[in-house]
Symmetry: D2
Subunit: 322 residues, 4 copies
């Protein structure tokens, strides 16, 4: 059956478009929303295996910052979102002095909407080497940060997990921050929502590959994942349109029961083959994306890089050359 693709906890089927009170009744899940002037913070906690089953996400915390203003007025919103991101990161990281942090920029730098991770990494204030070469000249707030963009399987011929694991074995970081582009169900979340979680990440998981996850168990250090939706897949857009169509027809009071039956069929059996019929001739992934995705990725990667720089270096960004 057709299952809309999404990497966001707040878009899990059990939560998506549900009222807060409905979500409260899901066992094993804690759900809390804070509305601020310019942004909304949603915290989803998966408490146990029942919660895991309910929303299909691993035990842990998933925080989403939603700020539509990023797109309408980047200059005003960007600083605030970086600060919120930094605050939430600090709480999740809970770093002691001196902790080595390894940032990992996942994704393919040759594919614009997938290049978010590598772009963020290119803007980080990398400092780990200074602790070795000029230890006396490092301000007290600075932490040793190193960063790598491991590429993707088609570029390197090596599983991303193998590369990251190999480097972790040498660097022995106390914490890993992995940044990746996500798929969302909702077009308005593209570049305006940021999800932070403490449960690790599976590179390319959105595409359906089964791969080794980047998590504490495999890498030997806590893995915080930061993700931003940069695409909606085309099948999801088609599906959502039809869903709304069917609902509208059903609501129409002057229709007989026959139609109800007909649409029942439509819902369950017809929809996916139809979507396939429209989209399938194309070999490969089809995505829906704003035309200006190149610029959008640039903008949001600055926000995230600033957030990480502030969180890791305790507000000092003097060494940043972003």
């Amino acid at each position: 059956m057709f299952s809309p693709r999404s990497d966001l906890a707040i878009e899990a089927a059990a939560i998506f478009n549900k009222s807060e009170s409905d979500i409260k009744n899901i066992e094993g899940i804690e759900y809390k929303t804070e509305k601020h002037d310019n942004y909304t913070l949603t915290r989803v906690k998966v408490l146990n295996s029942k919660g895991e089953e309910a929303i299909g996400k691993k035990i842990g915390t998933y925080i989403t910052v939603e700020c539509p203003k990023i797109r309408e007025n980047y200059d005003e919103a960007s600083e605030e979102v970086s600060r919120v991101l930094s605050d939430e990161l600090k709480k999740l990281m809970n770093l002691e002095k001196i902790s080595t942090v390894l940032a990992v920029g996942l994704g393919n730098w040759n594919v614009t909407p997938d290049a978010l991770g590598p772009k963020v990494v290119s803007k980080l204030a990398v400092t780990r080497h200074l602790f070795q070469y000029i230890p006396d000249k490092i301000p007290g707030e600075i932490q040793p940060l190193c960063a790598i963009s491991p590429g993707v399987l088609g570029i390197t011929g090596i599983e991303t997990g193998e590369i990251v694991k190999g480097i972790c074995d040498k660097v022995k970081p106390d914490l890993i921050i992995a940044i990746d582009a996500l798929a969302s169900r909702k077009i308005e979340r593209i570049s305006t929502s940021i999800q932070i979680s403490d449960t690790g990440i599976t590179p390319g998981s959105g595409i359906g590959n089964k791969r080794r996850g980047l998590d504490m168990e495999y890498l030997g250090a806590k893995v915080i994942a930061i993700g931003v939706p940069t695409v909606v897949d085309a099948a999801t857009v088609a599906n959502d349109t039809i869903e709304i169509l069917c609902e509208n027809i059903k609501k129409s009071k002057d229709l007989s029961k026959d139609i109800g039956k007909a649409l029942e069929i439509t819902d369950n059996e017809l929809r996916y083959p139809l979507i396939k019929e429209v989209l399938n001739p194309f070999v490969g992934d089809l995505i829906v994306t704003p035309k200006e995705v190149d610029e959008i990725i640039d903008d949001v990667s600055k926000i995230i890089a600033n957030g990480i720089n502030m969180a890791v270096h305790n507000g000092t960004s003097n060494l940043c050359n972003a």
Copy 2:
């Protein structure tokens, strides 16, 4: 009403998905298809104002080369398509010795799917200056070719037409070749179809702006336009999916007349607001595009540049540094 966006003559409503015999009956239109092993050539001629009305395109010739193999096996297909393109161009250009050709790469180089024109221009074997500086050393087949990418209004603050007209007034070309990215209705045409026409082009016309067209009347020289679909707009994908849904329901024989009526409504009045509901929260253009659009644009721009180089320089590409 919703009108699917397309820049291809073969996707005009009167032609799209129609049988060849149906199209034959349209007054003022000539339509011919040649099937070859690896590609299909379709020639649409708009003969008079009746034809203009019928398909909404100006009097002139529209040739479309369709070659799905470009995407499946670029290395094998690219050379053949360049050659076909070159042959068709030569016939349309009908150049005398020595004719100055100005190539114009339309579109925004900062937006990947819109960067086709500037990418093609960057791969052309520009030679006009050699006729001035080293006239004795130019092989006989070479023609004076010059090339410019005028950018877009948001980048320059100047209408594209003004820039091109200003340069034409100085260069006085005998022929202009304008290259642009197009929108198609069908996803499988992305990067696999090339349309050539001798009727000029209106930059950004696909987006609905009313702007001065680049044509013989304005620029004082024949304008051949080469276009390749690089996107399908998201509303078109949603619309086509619903259309197929409605048709399938209608075909279902065990439904009462009520449903027929309901779907009639759907067709005519409901569809566009529904699509708006799904897609609209986003400010700006939403496009459906293959994920690898960066690579696809690179590939197809080489094919077109080679085709132009061969057509203009009579098969000599020694000076090409593409």
Copy 3:
């Protein structure tokens, strides 16, 4: 004879390395230096044809801002230099309300040290089209600014002057600002000095080509040129090294007159063939450049774009999306 290549008025042979009092004696020249904490401002005025002959520059004003701190501490220096640049520009431009300004980014975007002009242009707050499309929504301080990067002859096959003239004939700007990368004699000036002049500019003049200059006479509007040294040519470095060597030997008191004679020869006749012997095997331009020239060009183009944006839009950079 070997003549060190430089595009800076303050490096003209009659002025270079001379004391201020010596320069005061040159007829037809006014020369004034202001030292500030972080930068030095030098104004050279060429008053008449005697001045033109003396330093080989056209009648007009040449202002140079020198700020070595740009390289040592970009974050601190950049804002101040942008402001100084903006102040000097305002005085030279002397714009009335509402004046259309055309910025022209000279140089080859494919060659890093030559890409300064196009990079600056890509960071300008272009507004001319807004006066046509949304005239009511434009803040009062904003002026109509448009911008173009015409490329170079080898890329377009068209003389830069022809392109700019053609566009000027359409746009009819009240003022033109041309930005270009320069050659300097002194390595420490690379990216740390900015020259502003009101005498126009000849694209590619540094390389020795005789081309139509971009000036009031040709374009019909005042042309302000902004230039930044991004390279020193390799022959100049070699020449300067030898010059210092020869001077040091001459100063050596225990040498006989024979040596003096020998070095005299060296000065005048031997030097240039020697430099040719070392550098010549290479076809084309050889430049001396800092290894990090890519980053340096990025940095200084931001400073200049900000300076122009502030000067043209009277301090309002809200519309800037640099």
Copy 4:
């Protein structure tokens, strides 16, 4: 004392500008030159510790292909040089079926003349993952090739050696090919010479850092290094110019002994401070490079990638998408 910087074995002081018969007398060195129509092949073998001392290079084989035609006529020369490179690589690699090869692109992708390694890697036909995912569909000649560009210390905060070692521990390659940009003493070698050696490589060794070398001992597999000169450092150019000057003065017969004495001083003590005086105001590396270095690096990286692809995949480049 000033020591001209070079990474080429054939430019070691004991060999540079010496006649073949002089070099034959150096103990511990074998030296052989083959002249072909379009290129010259020079093989330097360092046989023992005496040879190591004599030319300052580790025991092993150093092969240099010199082909000035690469710059004059890239299209004609490139294929032949790729083939020569492939043949020499095959002999050095001596691969058995099936051997995993790891290509490592050393250098900084943000600095044009240092980006050679990453550029080559981006053009390789990576296949190792296919052996895992579609083992039945791989033609017999194809070998498992994987590839990585580890970045530089300032970008990652991690020593290049640590990253490569970590990945080797996971991938366990049978052979490593490391590609790097080199410094040469002679300008005409920029992009026209390729050195291949079987002795490993020390990243950034040209700049004088003492770092862990990438060699068999550290990585557990044979390391073949491929290097191309992309810069000459500015001090070397200045030094060579002065050297020629001094020699010419000495040859001048009508000079007294005093001058001889003076120039003796010049040679030994004065030269380096003089060069410092001219070049030093600049913080950081100064390089001499052709202005078109961006294009040159593109060209030569294609030659090397093709050479590696052919050597590793036994002439089959069907899978290449360079």
